[in-house]
Amino acid sequence: MKLPSRAQLLRIFLNERSKHKGRPLYEVIVEAAQQHGLAGATVLRGLLGYGGKSGRIRTMKILRLSENMPMVVEIVDDSAKIDSFLPLLDDLIEEGMVTVQETNVITYRVDNHAQR
């Protein structure tokens, strides 16, 4: 797979509790991205954050405030693929934020000999 040097970075801001039909939404999104043929996806767990309805700060530092931590799914691919994936995301996300920004891919190397 080859990524163009000018690509798009798709970011989906969610939280741990976000679900789609009982499954963690971030998992569903990553699987959907894979099935859609996107180059890759990474899920990141935030250490601290706030947003959404409650506006309360969530932090890993204090156990009682560590419920429902923020999560971010990041995907980089060409604009046509990202654009075609967005309607699918719209059906999945009930609460969250989706951003798209232009990005430069400096290096994208895949080990062709790596085992699956």
Partner: protein
């Protein structure tokens, strides 16, 4: 024996729910900088443990079994050492050394003060 285990379980459940509620309320008011919720819960627990222990020995007509159910069941679930250590550990991992020190110090020092205050009140009330 079975009745004791059931009562211990119920007391434990009440202790856990009380801790969850109180810690959450305190943390909501104090914000996300310092684990005040766990500290307040543990200090409250130290005071109550001292008070109930002293009261049960000197004032209240409590059986040994009732004492165990309250002190082990309820108080054991109400207070938490593991969360205290987890939160101190997280403060240290974030290099918040001053906060980590204060968490350790306040738990130990005020905890003992709260315990002996509870004992004193429990004896004389």
């Amino acid at each position: 024996m079975l009745q004791k285990l059931i009562l211990l379980g119920i007391a434990g459940a009440l202790g856990t729910i009380s801790r969850y509620g109180l810690a959450g309320l305190v943390q909501k008011v104090t914000g996300a900088q310092f684990p005040w919720g766990t500290l307040i819960v543990n200090l409250t627990g130290c005071f109550l443990a001292g008070f109930l222990w002293a009261s049960s020995l000197h004032r209240l007509q409590l059986t040994g079994e009732a004492r165990i159910i309250i002190l082990v069941g309820f108080m054991g679930a109400f207070t938490t050492f593991s969360t205290y250590m987890l939160e101190t550990g997280e403060l240290m991992r974030n290099a918040e050394w001053v906060h980590a020190f204060w968490n350790l110090f306040l738990h130990s020092s005020i905890g003992l003060i709260a315990l002996f205050t509870g004992i004193a009140i429990g004896r004389h009330l």
